[in-house]
Amino acid sequence: MNAGRPFHKRGIKNRTREALSGYLFILLWIIGFAVFTVVPLGQTLFYSLNQVTVSATGINLEFIQWQNYTRAFFTDPTFVGLLIEYIIETLVSLPIILIFSMIIALFLNLKFRFKGVFRTIFFLPVVITSGPVIQELVAQGATSVPGLTLSGTALEFIADLPRYLRNPIEYLLTSFILILWFSGVQILIYLSSLQKIDQSIYEAAAIDGASAWESFWKITLPSLSTTTLIVAVYTIITLSHFSENKVIKYIYGQTYAVGGGIGYSSAMSFLYFFVLVLLLAIVFLLMNYRAKKQYG
């Protein structure tokens, strides 16, 4: 039906038609993004600049500029402490999860019997890690490493350490398994990129006399650098969004607290969001730099 028209005109028309169809497919998402993300995000930002009181008739707003933010940062003793704790815990957990999931993925990439059984085991936590379940397990002391009960002197030694050193160590001791439990999806991501590495590279290296150890450092690890970045970002976001996260619980609690309110908790949400983005940016820049350096 387009046959009679000049060629270039038909080309342009197809281009536009294609773009329109494409937009149609994602239209629902764009509207949803506006309604369920942009608007609420803007409202939360607006609330964070106000003193919000909820009454039977509706919401009363009183504009107070940055007071909610200054209060969270300078007056509230709990929030900043929790925020620092969250940063430390995330930075402690991140390398453990990265290394652990990479090692497990390397194991599961080998050929051996009963591989399926082990794969099932290591992926199991993804299915069951909900907030209340984790809370119960931590409360009953099921998440510390069995057999790793410390002797009295070691405990005293830890108790003598400065607070910011003591907290991460205690966190490690009490929730080590928990940290590992956050590795399920990461193991899968590593596995899938391990399987994408071309086997002929290994064969060529072996012919040139490289040992398995050398192949790992020279071939496997560099090929995983992009994946590691993705896994790191995924890990940070998952840890930060987890509903048992102390900062999130505190913000949630303050929403309904007498001295808190929606305005105050909104301000804290934004501060938390900002810290999360900052963490992501730091990790991204660090790892991206290293990845680039490795590739030359």
Partner: protein
């Protein structure tokens, strides 16, 4: 005899180019079993403790093997959790949104993978942004809006975002479908287009059937994540729908309503065995689902390649 002659002790122990040696194999299994045990420890601990009778709990000699098969804890936890009821609502609020979310995300993923249009990169950045923005930055205004329209405590509060492609962790599913459709051959779709089929028809008749594995994977993962989600469900559904994890988080309170502390004898007081029975009942449906569908769970992502660089 000839074979024995060729038997090489060194290669048997250390392995050769085609086979791992015995030492390596033993080391591998020892390591995997050790890590596996540590990994499963919380679950074992939970299961064993939940089977202990009150007498066993107090007995320091009983560590790993209870003296009797005691199911009393489960009977109590079953009642406290209001199991049939909360189980049904949990299934409802996880399965329905995840099916809807999967279908909508497949649309979006298809649009991004198959069509050229301006602003695609921006869309990708925004999709990533929805993944990064914490729920509490958007939840309160949403909640207030839902309240205005009387949607609080109603499953629609979860369904509406899912219908608009903004369901829980939707970015991951969009990326899965983007990756899937990108890797599928285009030839059939182009042939159908030349035959005059509409875009929607091409999607439904050709692209969708080819992507069935991705649909199954998405629905499974989405169901699990919706099931385990408690932050949004508490804000949006509290007072209307009570899911299993929600009920678990107020286990103590619910227990004391059923068995008031002053009126029951010492053996019926709330103890950790009952709590862990409740926790176990909470994850039991997911465990069953996992063992039935585990092929999909584990082999899936390897095939769809979530990593999409």
């Amino acid at each position: 005899m000839n074979q024995l002659k060729h038997f090489n002790l060194k290669s048997f122990l250390l392995g050769n180019r085609t086979r791992y040696g015995l030492i390596f194999n033993v080391l591998l299994y020892v390591l995997l079993i050790a890590i596996g045990f540590v990994y499963l420890y919380p679950l074992l601990f939970m299961f064993v403790t939940s089977m202990k009778s009150p007498a066993d709990l107090l007995n320091p000699m009983v560590q790993w093997i209870p003296t009797e098969v005691y199911t009393g804890n489960y009977v109590k936890a079953y009642r406290v959790l209001d199991y049939p009821h909360t189980l049904a609502s949990s299934i409802m609020i996880s399965l329905i949104p995840s099916v809807i979310q999967t279908v909508v995300c497949s649309f979006v993923g298809y649009g991004l993978a198959r069509y050229r249009f301006r602003g695609k990169n921006l869309i990708f950045i925004l999709i990533l942004a929805t993944f990064i923005i914490p729920a509490q930055n958007t939840a309160i205004p949403q909640m207030l809006t839902y309240r205005k329209f009387g949607l609080l405590g109603n499953i629609n509060a979860l369904l509406l975002p899912a219908v608009m492609g903004q369901g829980y962790k939707s970015a991951i599913f969009i990326l899965i479908f983007y990756q899937t459709f990108l890797s599928l051959p285009k030839v059939l779709e182009e042939a159908a287009r030349l035959d005059g089929a509409s875009d929607l028809k091409i999607f439904v008749k050709i692209a969708l059937p080819a992507a069935i594995p991705s649909y199954i994977i998405s629905i499974i993962f989405s169901t699990v994540w919706y099931w385990n989600e408690t932050y949004l469900t508490v804000i949006f559904l509290e007072g209307g729908i009570q899911s299993l994890p929600m009920q678990l988080s107020k286990f103590v309170q619910a227990y004391e309503n059923l068995y008031p502390p002053g009126t029951v004898n010492i053996f019926d007081r709330l103890n950790e065995a009952v709590k862990l029975s409740g926790t176990f009942l909470n994850i039991l449906p997911l465990l069953l689902m996992y063992f039935v569908l585990q092929k999909w769970f584990v082999e899936s992502i390897e095939r769809t390649g979530v990593t999409g660089e």
